[in-house]
């Protein structure tokens, strides 16, 4: 009995933990939003009828998309250079990307408070070189949140993509050169298409991470730039409106899972190495 099901027994504790404390509670959160109030979808009707909340959802999408696009571009180009760098330099560059990644979200967001604040480094610098007479209000804008988020996610993108680029065999690049393709053509016709699945994976990581973030928008956006994460916290812990918080949670879960499923499918279809 035990012997035949040994695999099950070994996997049981971890499976139980996930089912009991993740699946059931999250299902409970999602379930609590249905059949609440008038009509089965009342909390959602409520959410989408509020101009403010629509604005929050929209802003969160904007910030996440901008963060994804910028860190994708910076990350890919940087990763390309890193992957082609001589070995010693490469390990230094990788360490320099890993270090911020392992430093906490709060610490890294906090750094931008010092930089972008009214008496911050950037304003002092601009005042000193005479670009402006008045400090700019850079904090608590959509821009400040995006800058900090890009800062947060670019290292992740670089590391993901260095891995992807290093998996492209050198032989393919040499084959391309031997057939007469210049380095530019090789990049466009061989390296980039082969990196697309990796780019999609990186983009999904960054998008879902930004979409559900809390600390960075809280520190750099505050109440002025409320996003889904901060709104959810406010609903749950300030207004004690748990149905509203659960509704926001459900929207986050649905969007996250939909994007992950959709994009991993797209990435799989575009991945020629898999077939």
């Amino acid at each position: 009995m035990l012997k035949r099901h040994i695999g099950w027994w070994l996997a049981l504790p971890a499976t139980l933990l996930v089912v009991l404390f993740l699946v059931l509670p999250v299902a409970g959160t999602i379930g609590s939003t249905f059949g609440e109030g008038a009509g089965p979808f009342a909390p959602y009707v409520n959410f989408f009828s509020s101009g403010f909340r629509r604005r929050v959802l929209w802003r969160t999408l904007e910030i996440s998309l901008a963060t994804t696009a910028i860190s994708l571009l910076l990350g890919f180009l940087t990763a390309y250079v890193v992957s082609r760098a001589p070995r010693n330099l490469k390990s230094i560059l990788i360490i320099a990307a890993v270090f911020p990644l392992l430093t906490g979200v709060v610490v890294r967001s906090f750094a931008w408070l010092i930089i972008l604040g009214k008496n911050g480094i950037l304003n002092n610098l601009l005042l000193a070189i005479g670009v402006t007479d008045e400090p700019f209000a850079m904090l608590y804008t959509q821009g400040s949140v995006i800058v900090a988020m890009v800062y947060l996610f670019t290292p992740l993108m670089i590391l993901t993509l260095v891995g992807v680029l290093e998996n492209i065999p050198d032989d393919l690049i040499q084959a391309s050169a031997s057939l007469g393709a210049s380095p530019g053509s090789t990049f466009r016709q061989v390296v980039f298409p082969l990196a697309v699945p990796g780019l999609i994976v990186g983009a999904v990581l960054v998008f879902t991470g930004s979409f559900t973030s809390y600390a960075t928008p809280q520190l750099l956006g505050g109440e002025k730039q409320m996003v889904m994460g901060t709104l959810m916290y406010q609903q749950a812990m300030v207004n004690f409106d748990w149905i509203s918080a659960s509704t926001i949670a459900t929207i986050m879960v649905v969007i996250t899972i939909a994007i992950v499923l959709l994009m991993t499918r797209v990435a799989k279809r575009l991945n020629p190495m898999a077939t």
Partner: protein, 352 residues
């Protein structure tokens, strides 16, 4: 279209290690030359230098009089077939073959026409729209070949192209490669560690060791007249016996082994024989004859059955020797025998 290749006094380093030393190699128009040697002998390095993926420390490489030495790889116009095929996994078979034509600015319809024609020649026309991942090893190899041939390069190079295929396919493919190369009369350089493959496919073979060419000749000459003991061992001369000339009669000599066994050697067969030399033979080149007589006295040891003969591990005063004996007279271990040279199967090498 075909052009002669000339590699002149090339030295190359990986970091500080010297991997090629003063290497020169000439490949005539339309000739197929193999670089043969164990891994680390510098054959692949030579190929990469010619292809432009490595820069030589000194020396020059010219193709049809055009100096390639400092030219980037993508401007060299050399068709390259890789060991693991290096097909672009995101492009179809047709697109793979058309890739080089596209880089040469050949318009779409013409490009497709030429690529399809080339696929026809290698027998893969029906698979034109597949992705490489869906092909077998042999099919991939054909695509790689078509891709390199379609650009009609003045020089074609192969880097161990058959090492990932099974034995039967390997033989079919090497015939096919030879036929295509012959038909186009393309100059070709072929890198392999497989002696049979190199000898069967090449006009000439360069046997390499430690970054140098040990001998560069036709397969027949290499097989029968190795120039030195390295090549002799490489082509299967098991017995390398140091000898000293003790008497001369015109061109003919009598020579003696370390243990005092004497052999008469004909100048007609072996040419001019120096005072000290190495007598080289395969197991076939020494016949095991029971009893004592003219030749090298030996005691037979382990006997193995080869089908056409018995092979004996023999003990002699000159050291252990491998030799073959007739099937009609199997000898038990410990028998007294004489090893008689078969002059056609032996050769004389300079002592080192």
């Amino acid at each position: 279209m075909t052009q002669p290749l000339s590699v002149r006094n090339v030295t190359a380093h990986y970091g500080t290690t010297k991997v090629l030393e003063d290497l020169s190699l000439d490949v005539a128009e339309g000739e197929l030359v193999s670089l043969l040697g164990a891994s680390g002998c510098g054959k692949t390095t030579t190929l990469r230098l010619i292809a432009g993926f490595l820069e030589p420390t000194s020396g020059t490489i010219t193709l049809g009089g055009r100096d390639l030495t400092r030219l980037p790889a993508y401007k060299r116009d050399i068709g390259l077939v890789f060991q693991n095929y290096a097909l672009f996994p995101h492009l179809t078979v047709l697109e793979n073959v058309a890739f080089g034509l596209k880089q040469r600015g050949i318009a779409g319809p013409e490009r497709e026409k030429r690529a399809r024609a080339m696929l026809e020649r290698v027998g893969l026309a029906p698979l034109a729209d597949r992705l490489p991942g869906a092909l077998s090893g042999g099919q991939k190899q054909r695509v790689a070949l078509a891709r390199a041939l379609v650009i009609e390069p003045p020089l074609l190079m192969f880097d161990e192209p058959l090492s990932n295929l099974d034995a039967k396919l390997r033989i079919d493919m090497r015939v096919e490669i030879r036929q295509l190369q012959r038909a186009n009369r393309t100059t070709a350089v072929y890198v392999t560690h497989d002696q049979e493959e190199a000898f069967s496919i090449s006009d000439r073979v360069a046997i390499m060791n430690a970054g140098r060419i040990m001998q560069f000749d036709t397969p027949e000459t290499l097989y029968q007249r190795p120039a030195n003991s390295f090549v002799a061992r490489f082509v299967g001369f098991e017995n390398l016996i140091p000898m000293k000339v003790v008497a001369r009669d015109g061109a003919n000599v009598t020579a003696e082994t370390a243990g005092g066994a004497r052999l008469a050697m004909s100048g007609e067969r072996f040419g001019e024989i120096p005072d000290g030399f190495i007598f080289a033979s395969r197991a076939d080149g020494l016949r095991v004859v029971p009893g004592t007589g003219e030749g090298i006295p030996a005691t037979t040891g382990l006997r193995t059955y080869l089908g056409r003969a018995y092979q004996y591990q023999c003990d002699t005063a000159a050291g252990p020797i491998v030799a073959n004996g007739a099937l009609s007279e199997p000898l038990e271990p410990g028998s007294t025998a004489t090893l008689v040279p078969v002059p056609d199967q032996c050769c004389v090498l300079k002592a080192e």
